[in-house]
Structure formats: structure tokens, C-alpha cells
Amino acid sequence: MLLKERTKKDYRISELDESIRSSRTKTEARILYGVAKAGVNAPRLVAVTQFGIYMTEVEGNLLRDIAMKPSYFPGIGRQLALMHNANIVHGDFTPANIISSGGSFYIIDFGLAEFENGEEEKAIDLLLMKRSIDRRCYQKFVAGYSKHAKDAKGVLLRLEEVEKRGRYQSRTLS
């Protein structure tokens, strides 16, 4: 078992710090329960305190720290699709938050996750992954996602819009 405790961040004032820590702990506990119900590979919720969550531990290596092969990514896309189908968005979906364990991939750190049905938030999950992996991996990822996500088409269209929105982004480049 693992205790995830939100520690105090010295850079921010205590009022803001405590409000962020307690509300995120509460949301994260609800999310962990939600992803378990949706059949996503993720740590299982055991117990909750004001700033801490007890959960099961996933043994393995962070995807960020191993050589990323395109063949890993259809399955990772499917995991995200399962989450999105349950109206949960991760909020920080990068290789730093995926663990490779015995041939499967587990999603971890739901610290920024939310219950959200919007295409916008779902598109941002895809955008973060897109920025963190190479093009071949991303193509496999999108293929896996599109196969299993209920509204993949809408989310991918929205993603195009979100990408164009960046500051000084050239409108002609794709």
C-alpha cells in the first residue's frame, strides 16, 4: 500500500495551499473510485484523510524512463478512452504518469483529474501526450484512442482547434 500525501508547497501562501491540497485530495479519491469502476489500469483506492490518500502500489518503470516503442501506444490510447468514456479527464497525461508493469500500462497520479464531459478537457489530455512523444508513437496512440472512445471524432476536431489557439501560432502550419 502507498500513501500519497499532498505536502505543503512553501512557495504559495498557506490559505491557497490548503485549499488546493484538500480539494484536490477529495477529488482525487472520487476519481480513483471512478476509474476503478471504468476498468482502467490504475492504483486502487484504500482510504482517505484530509491531505492524504492510501492506495495500492503499482510496481514497474515510468514510461518516461524507458525506450518508448510505438507498439506500446494503442493500449495506452485505449486506457485513456476508457477514462474519457466514464467522463473522467486526467489533466496531466504524459509519459511521466504512466507505469509499465508486466506488459501492461497503468495510469497514475490523478492529482489534476476531474469529472468532465467536455471535448475541450479531453482534447487537452491528448495534446499533453502529443507534445511528450514522437510522431509514430502518437499515431498509434490516437489509433487506440479512436477505436475505443465514444466521441473520439469530436475530441480530435477540438484538439486541432486547441492547438491553433497557442500564442503566436502560425495559422497556416498544420
Binding site: K9, D10, Y11, R12, I13, E15, L16, S19, I20, R64, G91, D92, F93, T94, A96, L112, E121, I124, L128, R131, S132, V162, R165, G166, R167, Y168, Q169, S170
Partner: protein
């Protein structure tokens, strides 16, 4: 190589002289502050009036004559069109007169590079915060070494938000520092906090804070909007630091003049035992020296342009410029 750099992307017309990678002078003239914000054509007019004086002042401060200058640099973009044009024109006429090459510099790259030079960092994670920009950047590997954007604002720059907020609650904005000055001694009021991974958004925070001005004290709102916005930037920066495993962190751009922001970032750096740095305020505000620093490196690598090849680009995104 003796290079003169010209910056004119927004409210500042700045000229700096650099020789052998050392800043020799950094002079500027700013568009006077008003409650109306920046009207690009009016700012450009002011730049035209100031240009000859600032160029001369920079040469005098460096102790060199114009004829000794071996290259010119100017800001190609991003920035306000009419303002950029003044810098471009000044650069072209000087280059024509001296028969020297011109370097077309990206404004964002210049902010990071001058910081890297003056703080002696090798490969820092950079938080670039100004009126128009708020981005988290890190240099990529060769070939086409450039600053990749890891995270950025989804709507407006953080400095712009502070200025808009100051105007919205009837304060006189003074280059973003108004909110910072009012913030000391305030109490915390809860405001929206929007971070998505390494990206962030400020307009929700802005509108909400202005609405609350009907019931809350201005001091409290200034304190809270500053704490909330900086905490958002810090959280995203800390996350980018984990992802990239950076061992150096720097902050640059106009908002990097804020002592509070530097204090917060330093606290993150100390906690993770990494190096933190920022330049003196004159190099964080828009300035010509930073353009000269990058221009000298570009010209040494043969990346100069002829007068006829020069231009401006209002949306010259930082990740399209190669770093040398």
C-alpha cells in the same frame, strides 16, 4: 565583433551594444504610460522620435563610434506591427550606411539567451513571463536547436492580465507593477485557479477578480490575484522541471522583475536543490542589449541577412527560431 541591437516590439525602444559576448551598453526610451493601454500607431510614432537619441546614447555609453559597429541586430517579432517596423527601418538604414550585415532576432529567444549569458547557465528550464507572453521553455537537441514550448497560456499573458485588472478596478497601471505594489498587506480572497498540466489560463481569474471589486477591498484582490497567478505559473514550472529533469531554472521577461515571483521560484529551486537565476531588471524589461547578444552570435555563424531580406513578423513564434 561589435554589434548594435535594436528592440522595438512593444512600448520600449531599446538599443544595446555588445562586443565579444559582453554587454557594453543598454539604453532605452519608453512610451509614456496612460490609462488607455498601447495604441500601436501612437507607440510607433514615439519610437520614431526616440530612435536617433537612443542609438546615440547607446554608442556613447559603450564608448564607441558608429563607424566601428560591425553588425546590426533587430527584433523581427513577435510584437506589434507598427512598432516592429520602426526597429526594422532603423536597423536597415544603419546597416546600409555602414555596409554591415543584419541579424533578425526572435524577441523571446533574446530574453532567454541574455538571461542564460548573465546568469551563466548552460541548459536551463525557462519561465518567460511578460505582458504578451507566458511560456515554459527548454532547448531541444541539434539539429534545429530551438526552444520548445512545454507549457503556455491558453489566453493572455500574465502581465497583460495584471494591467487589465488594474484598469478594471480603476487603478492607474504602471507597467504591471501597480498590482504588485498594492498587494503587500492584503488578505487572501478565493479566486479561480486554472492549471492544465503545464499550461494555464488567466482570463477566468481576471474576470472573477474584477467582479469581486464590488464587494472586496482592492488591496485584498491585488494580493490574491498576484498570489493565485504566480502560484499557477510556479506549479506548471515545477511540473515541467520534473518532466525534463532540469538542473537549472531561470525566469525572464518583464514580469520577471517581480520580487515575489522570483522568491517563489527560488523556493522551488531550493527545495529540489537546483540552480535558480534571473538577470537584473534592466535586462528583464524589453531592451536592446538582449537583441545584440543574440545578433552577435548569429552574425558570427554567418546567419546575417541583406537589407532586402529583412522583414517583420508579428507572430514570429519562439519555437520557429533556431538558437546559436
Amino acid at each position: 565583433m561589435l554589434v548594435l541591437g535594436i528592440e522595438s516590439s512593444a512600448h520600449t525602444f531599446g538599443v544595446g551594444v555588445v562586443g565579444a559576448g559582453r554587454v557594453m551598453s543598454n539604453e532605452k526610451a519608453m512610451f509614456p504610460i496612460s490609462d488607455k493601454g498601447l495604441i500601436p500607431s501612437k507607440v510607433a510614432e514615439t519610437h520614431v522620435k526616440n530612435a536617433p537619441t537612443v542609438v546615440q546614447a547607446a554608442l556613447d555609453a559603450a564608448g564607441v563610434r558608429l563607424s566601428e559597429v560591425e553588425g546590426i541586430g533587430y527584433t523581427r517579432g513577435p510584437g506589434l506591427g507598427p512598432c516592429l517596423q520602426v526597429g526594422e527601418l532603423t536597423a536597415k538604414s544603419l546597416a546600409q550606411k555602414l555596409a554591415v550585415p543584419i541579424a533578425q532576432v526572435n524577441h523571446g529567444v533574446a530574453h532567454i539567451e541574455v538571461t542564460r549569458l548573465l546568469t551563466k547557465m548552460r541548459d536551463p528550464l525557462a519561465l518567460y513571463v511578460s505582458g504578451g507572453n507566458s511560456q515554459i521553455l527548454k532547448a531541444t537537441a541539434e539539429p534545429f536547436r530551438h526552444y520548445a514550448i512545454l507549457g503556455e497560456t491558453f489566453d493572455i499573458g500574465v502581465g497583460n492580465m495584471f494591467d487589465n485588472f488594474a484598469r478594471g478596478i480603476g487603478l492607474n497601471p504602471a507597467w504591471g507593477s501597480t498590482v504588485g505594489k498594492m498587494a503587500s498587506g492584503g488578505n487572501y480572497v478565493k479566486l479561480p485557479y486554472t492549471v492544465k498540466g503545464m499550461d494555464f489560463a488567466f482570463t477566468g481569474l481576471l474576470t472573477n477578480a474584477i467582479k469581486l471589486a464590488a464587494t472586496e477591498r482592492k488591496e485584498d484582490l491585488c494580493y490574491s490575484i498576484q498570489e493565485t497567478a504566480f502560484s499557477m505559473l510556479c506549479e506548471a514550472t515545477e511540473r515541467a522541471m520534473f518532466l525534463t529533469k532540469s538542473t537549472e531554472l531561470c525566469v525572464c521577461g518583464g514580469v520577471a522583475q517581480s520580487r515575489r515571483l522570483k522568491e517563489m521560484l527560488k523556493s522551488i529551486a531550493n527545495e529540489h536543490r537546483i540552480k535558480f537565476g534571473a538577470c537584473a531588471d534592466e535586462y528583464n524589461a524589453d531592451n536592446g542589449a538582449m537583441i545584440a547578444v543574440v545578433a552577435e552570435r548569429m552574425l558570427k555563424k554567418g546567419m546575417g541577412s541583406m537589407v532586402s531580406e529583412c522583414g517583420i513578423e508579428q507572430r514570429y513564434r519562439v519555437d520557429r527560431a533556431v538558437i546559436v
